[in-house]
């Protein structure tokens, strides 16, 4: 396959992002809504292309790997970006400025994630990571004049810089002790048994950097504050896509390059898993703000995904792929509801969701089923994906870890149902009108709901795809 064809997904994404940037200057004020439509449609087209090329395999310039595993993640980023764009039309339109740049930044950060998922070389990987991070820094501050948004941006940029520094330091240590930045060369060195103390330090630094992006405890401190302050669609995108990108890169570096040193870092991952699952779920309980609640829930979801890494098996990788894809739809569903609700009521407080079921049955239903899927209740897809993650660790003998994760899932049902209780049993504040849901968002909500039910009732098509991608990646 020629190079341009292998890279077509990335090239088109870059083209779309830059094109939007230019168009944003040309389109007169007041008609910028069209840019959003263009972005969403363009992304749909690119997603179709990526799906058509899902079997493509090849290495570009030694350090850029196109394989089914990477393409699976690219599809995931694209789906998340599409849903983000659709839920942004209204929200960003109301901010009144910078619409063109907004969509361009969403797409450029998507490009960064794609590079992360395909990078077979450490510098390329870092490039993708920074493209993603910097785009998000700007996006987080998009509610100009809002103190919380500014705070979110500052926190993300400073802490993000710290984590990038650590990560970069780790990369340099790895390079210093192996003599190469290519993942396949590093794996050869590690394979021949040459693990030096310096390399171990580098490994942990890398791990810290990735764990920061995953929002795994104890590298999660930024997440609740940034999630709360950032514009809601950005929070949604941040919570699903950037987390998945970190997992993609982590898998490639740690399973391929450092796979043979697995016993060294295995225990650290177990520790991260326990901490994330426990802290994420426990701290979610007292939250009053829907975005903070979802932030802690997303921290706990990072913990569940880490179970797949603990397993260190094809089943584990497949389970990560499957869970992260469904997590996109469940979490985006919940955040889209939060966005629409914020547009109507200017509030993110859970108590203001009282009686939502009567004001908009659609919104309440999507929130309900998204939360139930996050909690892992059948027949929703989240049940199947958690089942796979738990089975993956049980298969490796970590039964106690699975039990802990199940117990913490039960805790999560408590705080998810708190929201449901407010929505369905609470009385709507008097005088509040029914909430109008724009058509585009209605379609997006219906799609994510359909995905949650479809792959909950008949998971095989997606599991086959996820597990065959995983098998090709992890021998």
């Amino acid at each position: 396959m020629p190079v341009w064809e292998l890279l077509s997904v990335e090239l088109l994404t870059a083209f779309l992002g830059l094109g939007l940037l230019v168009l944003g200057l040309l389109v007169p004020k007041g008609q910028k809504r069209g840019l959003g439509y263009l972005a969403a449609l363009g992304l749909v087209g690119i997603a179709a292309l990526a799906f058509a090329l899902r079997e493509a395999q090849g290495v570009v310039w030694e350090g850029y790997i196109i394989d089914p595993f990477g393409t699976y993640f690219k599809l995931l980023f694209l789906f998340a970006a599409i849903l983000t764009c659709v839920s942004s039309f209204e929200y960003i339109g109301r901010l009144g400025n910078g619409e063109g740049e907004y969509y361009a930044l969403i797409i450029l950060s998507t490009l960064g994630m794609m590079i992360l998922a395909s990078a077979g070389e450490l510098i390329t990987l870092y490039l993708g990571l920074e493209l993603m991070t910097i785009s998000f820094c700007i996006l987080a501050t998009y509610r100009r004049g809002d103190m919380k948004s500014a705070e979110a941006g500052i926190k993300y940029i400073i802490l993000g810089a710290l984590s990038s520094a650590i990560l970069l330091y780790g990369l340099s240590l790895l390079y210093g002790s192996t003599g190469s930045t290519l993942i396949k060369d590093i794996s050869l060195v590690v394979n021949s048994g040459g693990v030096t103390p310096l390399m171990v330090v580098g490994m942990i630094f890398l791990l810290g950097g990735f764990a920061f992006k995953m929002a795994a405890v104890p590298f999660h401190m930024w997440a609740p504050d940034v999630y709360e302050g950032a514009p809601t669609p950005v929070t949604a995108f941040l919570s699903v896509a950037s987390k998945a990108a970190a997992f993609a890169a982590f898998l490639r570096v740690f399973f391929v390059a450092l796979g043979d040193s697995h016993p060294l870092w295995a225990e650290v991952i177990v520790a991260l898993t326990i901490l994330s699952v426990v802290v994420g779920n426990l701290v979610a309980i007292p939250q009053k703000n829907i975005k903070r609640l979802l932030a802690y829930s997303s921290i706990s979801q990072a913990g569940y995904l880490l179970l797949g890494i603990v397993a260190f098996s094809t089943l584990g990788v497949g389970a990560i792929l499957y869970h992260s894809m469904l997590y996109v739809f469940a979490n985006m569903g919940a955040f889209m509801v939060a966005t629409v609700f914020y547009n109507a009521d200017k509030s993110d407080e859970i108590q203001d969701y009282a009686g939502l079921a009567r004001r908009s049955p659609l919104l309440a239903a999507v929130m309900l089923f998204s939360l139930l899927s996050l909690a892992g209740i059948p027949p929703l897809a989240g049940f199947v994906s958690k089942f796979y993650l738990f089975m993956a660790v049980i298969d490796q003998g970590y039964i106690w870890l699975a039990i802990l994760a199940v117990l913490m899932s039960m805790v999560s049902v408590y705080y998810y149902l708190q929201v449901v209780k407010v929505m369905y049993l609470g009385d709507p504040p008097p005088g509040r009108p029914a909430i109008e849901v724009p058509l585009g968002v209605q379609i997006a909500l219906a799609c994510s709901l359909a995905v949650l039910f479809l792959f909950g009732i008949y998971p095989t098509p997606l599991t086959n795809y996820a597990f065959s991608s995983a098998a090709a990646f992890f021998h």
């Binding site: 500052i154 926190k155 400073i158 802490l159 710290l162 984590s163 650590i166 693990v195 030096t196 103390p197 171990v200 330090v201 490994m203 942990i204 630094f205 791990l207 810290g208 920061f212 104890p218 590298f219 401190m221 930024w222 609740p224 504050d225 016993p263 060294l264 870092w265 225990e267 650290v268 520790a271 802290v279 426990l282 701290v283 979610a284 309980i285 007292p286 098996s313 094809t314 089943l315 497949g318 199947v384 089942f387 796979y388 089975m391 993956a392 049980i394 298969d395 490796q396 805790v411 008949y458 998971p459 095989t460 599991t463 086959n464 597990f467 995983a470 098998a471």
Partner: protein, 627 residues
């Protein structure tokens, strides 16, 4: 056609949401959707049976295809493979036809019977859901899927028994059916999970292949016995039979379809599906045979004294199911399935006939009926035909199939069960003709006058009556390539007609009818005097051996007593623990929240501290040379 077998349950499965969400307001359209869907399934089933019998699909060479539903690819030592699959062999093909045929006729009949009921559309929705689940159960190629549909038919049965939920008896009966079946289904579930643990598969054919390599015969027997709990509940065998008579609180078409022809036969079908399992363990087979035989006798004796027309039929169903289970136990799957087929036809006929009577009189006590033959000619003629078939009078369907069972018991050396079966045949013809002489002939005991039911109710009766005459010949011993060469286990065995068995059972049946005529027709023997003479026996029988009372006593004294104890324990010990845990969880959530002070330096500090700790943790052994 066989390739499209999966469509058979799909048609009614689609009809259910269509009726529930779209056509609910439009009664006629709802009925049409339901009937149209099941008619399509019926036509398809006809095609499937035809193709099965003509294209060389046999019990050994079935057609099977499946979609993987849940699996664990790449797991080290855990195996999980759950399929959604279809298994078509003569057994399932015959069963498909039986179910779709009866369901179609019952739905047509219901148009007349349920006319004017406020829940008309919902009724057709439930019937469609039931048909879909039952057909799915029949087609299932593995235990897991079968159990799924097994539970769904149970749910539909619950919904339909309680269809007149405003009647307290109906609500209670539906609850009873649900609870009793829950006990049985739990056993069933444990049984097939046990099999899965032993053989790592739910698939029927894979299990059959793996069975000879069973690790331990004792464990296998335990699993088989647990699985047999399923049929005991669903096919209303002693001691879990108590729900079936009460289930008669549901609308009569439901009794005909679910509680006579199809769902209650699911237990027998399960035994046939898993026949190799039971056949390989003689002890379990013996248990099956005796449970079936005992239930046949037990239910028939109760039927002698009942007064409610539907309850008499219900006990008769139980008794006939006992026959089928007995047939499975004595090793003749052919006989059991043949009786299932013919019984489905004539018992549906009898129930629909009873429904026609109830529709006309709004009365179920046979001693308040009488002389109906003059008012309801079609109903009477078809009902008598059905009763003759049930009694086993040649050449009607019931004669051939019942004879097959008795012959199987006789020639496989179960002489005791053979005699028991013959006695039951006598009792059967007696209680059926008691019903007929009392309700349809003689004087009008309560002055009630009937009227013939509308065409849409009588036409299904006529069709079923015709089939009752004809259907027996597919398995009659002198017919070559008949039922026994389609549905069999092991070798297709064509039993030679045994004239001793034939003549005895016919004589016994005629004797039963004659005795019933003497007592209730000509009234030369006083029924009252007999009841007086053997009052204690009559009372015991009339009260159904006091089984319900015994269960009630057990429930009130033992279960509720235990429940009280557990309740106390729950309130004070378990709740204490859980409230404590819950409070601790919530409290720790509130405490941990303070980690998030919102202060940037703290966040950065935590980040770096974590990195340092992890480095020390992992790197120290490496530096120290331990790793």
């Amino acid at each position: 056609m066989i390739r499209y077998a999966w469509l058979v349950p799909l048609f009614p499965a689609l009809a259910f949401p269509v009726i529930a969400f779209i056509t609910r307001r439009l009664r006629t359209l709802s009925a049409l959707v339901g009937i149209g869907a099941i008619a399509a399934s019926f036509v398809l089933s006809l095609g499937i049976l035809w193709e099965t019998l003509t294209s060389g699909v046999t019990m050994e060479k079935p057609v099977e295809y499946a979609l993987s539903w849940l699996a664990l690819p790449g797991a080290k030592d855990w195996v999980l493979k759950i399929e959604a699959g279809v298994l078509v062999d003569p057994l399932s093909a015959v069963m498909l036809l039986v179910v779709t045929l009866v369901a179609l006729l019952v739905e047509i009949y219901s148009v007349g019977y349920m006319h004017g009921d406020p829940g008309f559309s919902v009724f057709f929705g439930y019937l469609s859901l039931f048909s879909a689940s039952m057909l799915g159960l029949v087609l299932a190629n593995n235990f897991f899927m079968m159990f799924f549909f097994w539970e769904l038919v149970g749910l539909c049965s619950y919904l339909l028994i309680g269809f007149y939920f405003h009647k307290p008896e109906a609500a209670r009966a539906s609850l009873k059916a649900f609870v009793v079946n829950r006990v049985a289904d739990f056993g069933f579930m444990l049984g097939f999970f046990y099999l899965f643990l032993m053989f790592k598969t739910f698939n029927f054919r894979e299990l059959a292949e793996a069975l000879p390599h069973a690790p331990h015969m004792g464990l296998l027997a335990v699993a088989a016995t647990l699985i047999f709990a399923g049929p005991i509940g669903k096919s209303a065998q002693f001691p879990l039979h108590v729900w079936l008579p009460d289930a008669m609180e549901g609308p009569t078409p439901v009794s005909a379809l679910i509680h006579a022809a199809t769902m209650v036969a699911a237990g027998v079908y399960l035994l046939a599906r898993a026949f190799v399992l039971f056949a390989s363990i003689p002890e379990v087979s013996l248990l099956v045979a005796y449970v079936g035989g005992f239930t046949a006798l037990f239910a028939a004796t109760i039927a002698l004294t009942q007064r409610d027309i539907k309850r008499i039929l219900a006990y008769s169903t139980m008794s006939q199911l006992g026959y089928m289970i007995m047939a499975m136990g004595v090793g003749s799957m052919t006989a059991g399935m043949f009786h299932l087929t013919t019984h489905a036809i004539f018992k549906a006929l009898l129930f629909l006939g009873a429904g026609s009577v109830i529709h006309a009189l709004h009365e179920q006590d046979i001693f308040r009926m009488g002389g109906l033959a003059k008012d309801m000619k079609v109903t009477t003629a078809t009902f008598v035909l059905g009763a003759l078939a049930l009694a086993g009078i040649p050449p009607l369907a019931g004669f051939w199939s019942k004879d097959e069972i008795l012959l199987a018991a006789y020639s496989n050396g179960y002489t005791g069960l053979y005699i028991l079966g013959t006695v039951v045949a006598f009792l059967t013809s007696f209680y059926m003709f008691r019903l007929i002489f009392v309700a349809f002939f003689g004087r009008r005991r309560a002055g009630l006058h009937g009227h013939e039911s509308p065409k849409c109710m009588t036409v299904p009766l006529i069709i079923l009556a015709t089939l009752t005459v004809v259907a027996g010949f597919i398995g009659a011993p002198f017919v070559p390539h008949g039922f026994s060469s389609w549905v069999y286990f092991g070798e297709p065995h064509h039993l030679e007609p045994n004239y001793f068995v034939m003549v005895t059972s016919t004589l016994v049946a005629i004797l039963g009818i004659y005795l019933a005529w003497l007592i209730y027709g000509k009234e030369v023997i006083s029924a009252e005097a007999l009841a007086q003479r053997w009052r204690s026996i009559h009372t015991v029988l009339y009260n159904k051996y006091y089984i319900d009372e015994a269960y009630l006593w057990f429930f009130r004294r033992v279960v509720l007593g235990l429940a009280e104890a557990f309740h106390w324990h729950d309130r004070h010990v378990v709740d204490g623990i859980f409230d404590g845990v819950g409070d601790t969880v919530r409290w720790s959530g509130y405490r941990l929240r303070y980690l998030h002070s919102g202060s940037l330096p703290v966040y950065a500090l935590v980040f770096f501290a974590a990195v340092v700790v992890f480095v020390l943790w992992v790197a120290t052994p490496v530096i120290g040379g331990i790793r």
